[in-house]
Subunit: 218 residues, 2 copies
């Protein structure tokens, strides 16, 4: 029962592909401009001119200026989590894996201040703007690699509710470390590797062999 929809008479609507290409073209230009001069410094009028378009055309392809930035965030997060999955795949030992993945997550932001600034600290955006993006299902799905790595490191002796609790805590901690070290950059923080390692050690089951207090007692 496929409806025999004969195309209407006028000019056809843009195909999905055409829309995607135009959005990609605008995003590419925006990425370069935002990184060079900052999100706030680039006006819609300026971006339109640089892309060879009219300001109005931008609003045909994106709902708003922040919508353009969000499309860039998706690219950055995608890149990061593909990287994390590669690291997880190549590290067989669960404990080494959770350390490696967590450290990479934090290090990524510290090493890519351009990206971090554009995602979390673009001048002129509010944290409410970030919120809509972070809450998207696609964004949350990216974080499964962190959750699964921790679950494996905790092993079978840990109850699922505890695993869930600690997975959530892991995310809070890693985001907290990255966020604090970058936003309060003038404070002489300890090495971020030490912070991540100490945090992960606190999450993992206590190991008598390297616990000084228990070491003597045993």
């Amino acid at each position: 029962m496929a409806e025999q929809k004969r195309p209407p008479r006028g000019r056809p609507q843009r195909t999905e592909k055409q829309i995607a290409e135009m959005r990609a073209k605008i995003s590419a230009r925006a990425l370069r401009l935002f990184q060079e001069e900052g999100y706030e410094a680039i006006s819609m009028r300026r971006l339109a001119k640089e892309a060879g378009l009219t300001p109005m055309t931008l609003y045909k392809y994106f709902d708003s200026k922040i919508d353009i930035l969000r499309s860039l965030w998706a690219g950055i997060f995608g890149e990061l989590f593909i990287d994390l999955e590669k690291i997880a795949a190549r590290e067989p030992d669960p404990q080494a894996r959770i350390h490696a993945v967590s450290l990479r997550y934090v290090t990524y932001w510290l090493d890519s201040p351009d990206h971090y600034f554009m995602v979390f600290m673009s001048k002129g955006i509010s944290q409410l703007d970030v919120r809509g993006f972070v809450e998207a299902d696609a964004t949350l799905a990216w974080f499964y690699v962190l959750r699964d790595s921790l679950s494996a490191a905790l092993g079978d002796g840990v109850e699922p509710p505890v695993k869930r609790l600690k997975s959530e805590l892991l995310l809070c901690i890693l985001n907290g470390i990255a966020h604090n070290l970058i936003t309060i950059s003038s404070y002489p923080w300890s090495d971020h590797e030490d912070l991540v390692r100490t945090a992960i050690d606190g999450l993992l089951p206590k190991n008598p062999s390297d616990a000084p207090i228990c070491g003597d007692a045993c």
Copy 2:
């Protein structure tokens, strides 16, 4: 050699007290309006009208709109940390104290979404706007109560460098928990008390008596 400065002829400059009073008056009006309708929704023109002033006069007492918000933040942070100090003072046991203070810090933000939104999530402010405030010495000093409580809970058996590391980690963790639970509010997070307790337990020295793995071995 006190200079005999005779006052100049014209109208004298506003005294510190006059300036403080005018700023307080503006802040009070802004606090109510920002809480009722949101920071972004209140324009400088509107705030001026509500305060019985000219927009230009606002700029005589504050550098910018965000500067007004910052003065409100200072009041909120001051209130919170005075509360934390009271809690710390009334709890003699160091371990109970760090738990109580940490939980209160996180709970404060979760219980006062109005304040949290106004401090960390006002629509129309950027995270760079927060940065200048958080980096101020006066702001950092407020956090000493957290650092000192943790230091006491860690006891004398822990080396100072480790204490410092864990103090910094504590701040990252608590901010991370509060921030994630509030900004990703649609996710079904575990109880925040469990998150804080688990996080603190991970920071404190491992206690053989309640460590299951070691319990059997001992």
